[in-house]
Symmetry: C5
Subunit: 375 residues, 5 copies
């Protein structure tokens, strides 16, 4: 599995190793605006959607001509502007936004070179226009039975939020509905509150995913305890690997939200930070559950392996009992099948005596096994 | 096992995975007062009990008409008012209290969406009436042989304590008796001391539960060391899982009590914080015991598995000894059962010689086994 | 094993789970002086001994009438008074001391409800008479071959030290002898130095106990490496469990001594804190040794288990070699024992040829085993 | 394998233990300039290359006469001078640079005695000329299929960077190309930015190496799950050992970069420290991946071992079923091959009855196995 | 193994448990000067050597009459005096130095009661003469193939260093040679630099010891992977135990050097602290290597155990294949050896048919095994 075969936009965690970002070692880190080139195929179109809102007005625009859009002023009544860019394939669009909002080269690089570890960074500059706070998050969702993961990058300015997603489709539909409701808490607050709402949606999306793992864990446990099949170990292995990868994403998410909630930042309102405590609690709960699941899965392996040993013991006991009883008797029968001259052949009572000896031996053996607790 | 089948109010920890709170991802976090709707069945009635007391007076009121109750002023003599709400099914009641005491939306959400991780939060506002300190705790109790767990939420104001329980029935009867005793330490102190007394009752309730696990552990140990049965591994597995879940609840409880005891808060008196040190000591002791139990349970598994191996070794030894002695002899007997012409058949002494050879071989084998320490 | 069967004063750690303190959940924490009732049997008498000393005078009093003793003033020349109470059975005596020295209710509770986790607490009050610093320690001693553990509680005032022991008999005889020596370092120092000397005696008592475990570990190691018996695993299990319980006591002791040594306290002299560093070093050394012993015991288990596997491999090899050589030969012998008409029966040379085939097969098999490294 | 056989300049991590630096215990630490002697063979020549650049000018010099080079002044227009020394065999060259730039004796010792643990040290002195910041890093690269590791030492002054490599050949070719581009970010910045660029190249070089391990891990996983070969365990063992050694290098690298990024230093510009955050993120990601790989490799071992046990169980089941069915029947056949007088021989129907008994026994046995879940 | 049998001065770590210091519990800690008695045999003589040096003068004196020596003044030109006492058997000598240099009783106790955990302590007093800084270190050396360990105690004053060793012979010969060189760095610096040089020699002595363990590890690895012998497990066990004991000594050494290097102390010069950073780096490297070795040894055990399992599987496969093929055939041969009347005996073609059946069965079985991957 090399880097190129893994460049599908939404990667299924199930059954694959963690993606590794592609870097050209020694190449300049940080992508200057003029260096943004169309290094990826431009097949998939990029969808740009701009939502402007204030407490009492609200307007959605599906941007088709980016240059024209960036040339226009934002409506004076809008307190918050949210621009969402779906798809990282058209570098021209990304360059236009990077120039307009003066995005930092290192941040632009992190947007383009996915996957990055979730993080929150502050790029201070003197200029007003620049989006100051840069956040990278990992958005998980279940599509059918498969887990899809996608990087989302946020640039938060004083009244603007830019979001870049790898592909179309996200977990924010309910947030958009809430924006559409006049006077809702979202509409009454600033851009940082919108950032909070989006992060909250991403984190809360993990609960149904955990439900799904909880179900699988329970099913596996039932199988292990009642009727272990031979592929169970591979299923536990797969589950553990997925939990490991999930956890690898969950820990840095927790750190990001914790740093956002703890460190005051010019673009973050007090209200937002109070609400982020709630997201933080949820992310702690998710890690807690993940760790519990991992320990349960480990316990399952252990229980399964000990079940195997118990079963093996039983199998060997049966073989040993059968063998130990019949091997000497077979020998005896063999002896009296010999074609030598024996006194026993002459004596008429030897056949009944043979059977008596056989039965006595078997019973004695069984008694001895019983005493050892084998029967 | 999906979320819905687990909404029974009291969940038995035994034999089930940790409950996961139900969230609608992307929905607004924090429940505004007007948003509290009757989202749950209203079958079970909600019991509201208000206890007012000062050092020398004391009065209990079983509230039936919540609106009327909240409209009345509290008696002037009362230094502390404790309102306990049993049941989260009637949203009208919760909304009434949330409005009256100006509870923070995020706190109300945590009350309704159980289970939350135990935590202590401070929601500062300018208004006087608001209950300031919000505490979520987990109340464990043994009903018969099963462990029941329930979330309790506390709102502490300057002279008021609100408690929300999931179901009726709790571990606070002795606390209520102590309130009824004029001049008791509880009556002489403020509302934060009542919070302490309730938390103390919740934490101390763990000791009899640990007693019960200690008994199970001892029983299992006796079985493992003396007479292992085949379902022992499943019983150890169950015990370990329950200890894991208990521990998952105990750690955040310890953190909560530690933060309450350490950080000064306007609503917490000095006396209360001194007494909370005692609760903290107990919670540390509980975690200590839990960890010791977990290590003992792990040691038990290990000992059991090694016992299996020892047993297997013995079984195989017996089979090998029997097989190794009789397999060559059986071959020999087979040879002399052949219908070929052999000189041995002619010679009269061959039968006694055969027996001598057999016995010599067996004795030689046994001597060799003895030297290897197998017999 | 329930709490009541474990109330023997000195509990043998060997072969038993950790003791759990008895609490009545919901009951008031902290025992007010008037609440101290004779809740335990008063069978065993309580021995109270008071030692007064200054640098040049010294006097021991075996107290029989507690009330009279507490009524008298202490001699003016005495710089330090040490009152030792052996036995927690007579609540009247405990109440008398609690009232006289104004002991904090929570501390009194910890004295009576054994076992507590070792701890050091400061109960600040305005009153002069009160013993300020409260320390709980765990005293271990070897009585014959068994480990006895007992809780000791210390109340340190400016010139007074109160000690409560569960039973008579302690590890402090040499300390008492040193007090009797005029001008000894103990006599020249204050009450906190006496506390140090007593804690030092308790901690140093662990070294001979560790010697004893070191001997057991060595014995077990010799057995495992040279001549494993079948009960070895149970002995290792027992050793590991005892080390686990010892360690459970050692860690909080270390914390207690560390906090005493680090945090300045009005009742602790500088000299005492310098000497406590030595006790702290010893407690660190003890934990170090315990952890090393635990790792060695774990390594022992592993080595034993691998020894079992090696042995099993050898056993199976022998069986397989025997079986593999003789099973085909036995078949061959069986064939020529058949009562069918065969050309071989006619031919005279078939018997020698049979033996040649048998020996050739056996030799060929052995050569093959040799090549695989089985013989 | 002693130290001398391992002094090859580039050590292949694969299949070898960590290199240990050679020290003469008791010898003076820190190598004074006059003590630098030609303690190593001088076979391999040392290549010295000096690059001077400013924003608009740029010049490379391949130094052949070191003394002459160090005697000349640097061009006035050069804002940054980077001197790279490839090879540690010619002590005369090292001594010349140590004297010229007044390198600290302890730093010189660390340059010569490889391998050192990666570290960043500041040697403050009064003199202007001295290179102040000393950084040791570990450069990994893949040459064909083998991993090569080499120590790189950096001395950073105000406008000078000295780098010492163990051998020729490095991962910095793209950095040199970027220096050659007039106006590039590298050319516009100071010497510390060059240090950043070189460290960035070293850290980014790990990603393709991790790719390679990811591929091996995946291949091993496929083998384990589908068709385990007998050398798989050795291959997993080798992989785990290499990951262990990689991780041993990665952790101190992370610490070094973290300390460079966090602690302000006179020679480090603000811009460089901002960019170092990016290198730090990458080093955290690398450690993250390494730990994930290690856990996956551990899981692989576990899965493989459990696969073995399952296979063993199956093998034993087959043997037991065959044995248990045929051993009693063989005994029976043996009985009727005896040469005694038996009533059964007389009766004509005994042969069919024999077969009926045999088939009935076999069918009964199989039914019993079926019930136990063995068939 | 009790304490007395282990009092040999140099203890071989190989094959023995950690030494435990001998204490008389309850006895006074700290040994006053007049209490130092000749508690040990005085058989071995004590060697005292005094070295005085300044930058340009230097003088060694082998002290025979301690009283006389301590009575004389030190030469005025001497900037540093180093007194080394070899052997702890003559308490008179120790008492003389303790009185002369006013050593703290607790420090004297630590010198005499070996082994102590490595530590650095400061005993502040008003008196000028007293040696202020007390350091305990553990000196390891290889004598032939065995590891010897010995406690070294240092007392550092402003211009004096006292060192106490358990036995004669140490790792400081090269240090003494460096002192003899006029103008060497040692001669130019103060007493704390001498302390540094001695500690550096002790720490660097660990590298050849680690080399030796590296060789053993490699040898064991080769054996495990290529040709496992039956005592391999015991050798790995021994290696792991020794690494455990080494590590037990290495961690506190690191702490000691770290605290010396970090905390400014009146007797330590700035230069010394800069050089101690180098010793600290080495001690970190040693711990790093030890941990790596421990992990490698653990990996070795695991690989060995899995190798055993693989071998067992193969053995069982062979037995099962042989058994499964021949057991039914032997039964068949047994049947036709019965002395009943059978139609098959009459028919002439039964013998060839028998062989056809046998061969067909065997081939069928082998095909089935092939399909299962057993052959």
């Amino acid at each position: 599995m090399n880097a190129h075969s893994r460049t599908g936009a939404a990667e299924a965690l199930s059954g694959s190793l963690p993606k590794i970002q592609e870097v050209r070692p020694g190449a300049a880190s940080g992508i200057e605006h003029h260096e943004i080139t169309n290094c990826r195929g431009t097949g998939a179109p990029v969808a740009v959607r701009c939502i402007d809102y204030s407490c009492d007005r609200f307007q959605v625009e599906q941007v088709t001509d980016v240059a024209d859009f960036l040339g226009r002023h934002r409506p004076a009544w809008a307190t918050v502007r949210w621009i969402n860019i779906d798809g990282l394939t058209d570098m021209g669009v990304i360059r236009a936004f990077a120039e307009k909002y003066n995005l930092h080269p290192l941040a632009v690089e992190d947007v383009i070179h996915v996957p990055q570890r979730p993080k929150a960074e502050d790029y201070p500059t003197a200029e007003k226009l620049q989006a100051r706070l840069f956040v990278v998050a990992r958005m998980l969702s279940l599509i059918g039975d498969r887990l899809h993961t996608e990087q989302v990058s946020f640039f938060l300015g004083h009244s603007t939020l830019l979001t870049f997603q790898e592909t179309q489709g996200d977990v924010w539909d309910t947030v958009r509905q809430r924006i559409a409701i006049a006077g809702s808490r979202l509409r009454r607050n600033d851009a940082s509150f919108l950032l909070y709402a989006l992060l909250d949606a991403i984190v809360d999306q993990c609960f149904p995913i955990l439900e799904c793992y909880s179900d699988r864990l329970e099913e596996l446990e039932e199988i292990v305890l009642q009727n272990p099949t031979s592929d169970i170990m591979q299923r536990i292995h797969a589950l553990k690997r997925e939990l490991l990868l999930l956890r690898r994403g969950a820990w840095p998410m927790r750190e990001v939200i914790n740093s956002l909630q703890r460190e005051p930042h010019e673009c973050m309102s007090e209200v937002t930070r109070t609400y982020l405590r709630d997201v933080y609690d949820h992310s702690v709960q998710i890690i807690d559950l993940l760790e519990t699941f991992r320990e349960l899965a480990n316990g399952l392996t252990e229980t399964y392996m000990s079940g195997l040993s118990i079963r093996m013991n039983e199998i060997m006991k049966v073989l040993t009992i059968m063998g130990t009883i019949f091997i000497p008797l077979t020998f005896l029968a063999g002896v009296y099948g010999m074609n030598m001259k024996m006194p026993e052949y002459e004596w008429g009572g030897s056949y009944p005596v043979f059977w008596v000896v056989c039965i006595a031996t078997a019973v004695g053996m069984l008694a001895w096994f019983k005493r050892r607790g084998w029967v």
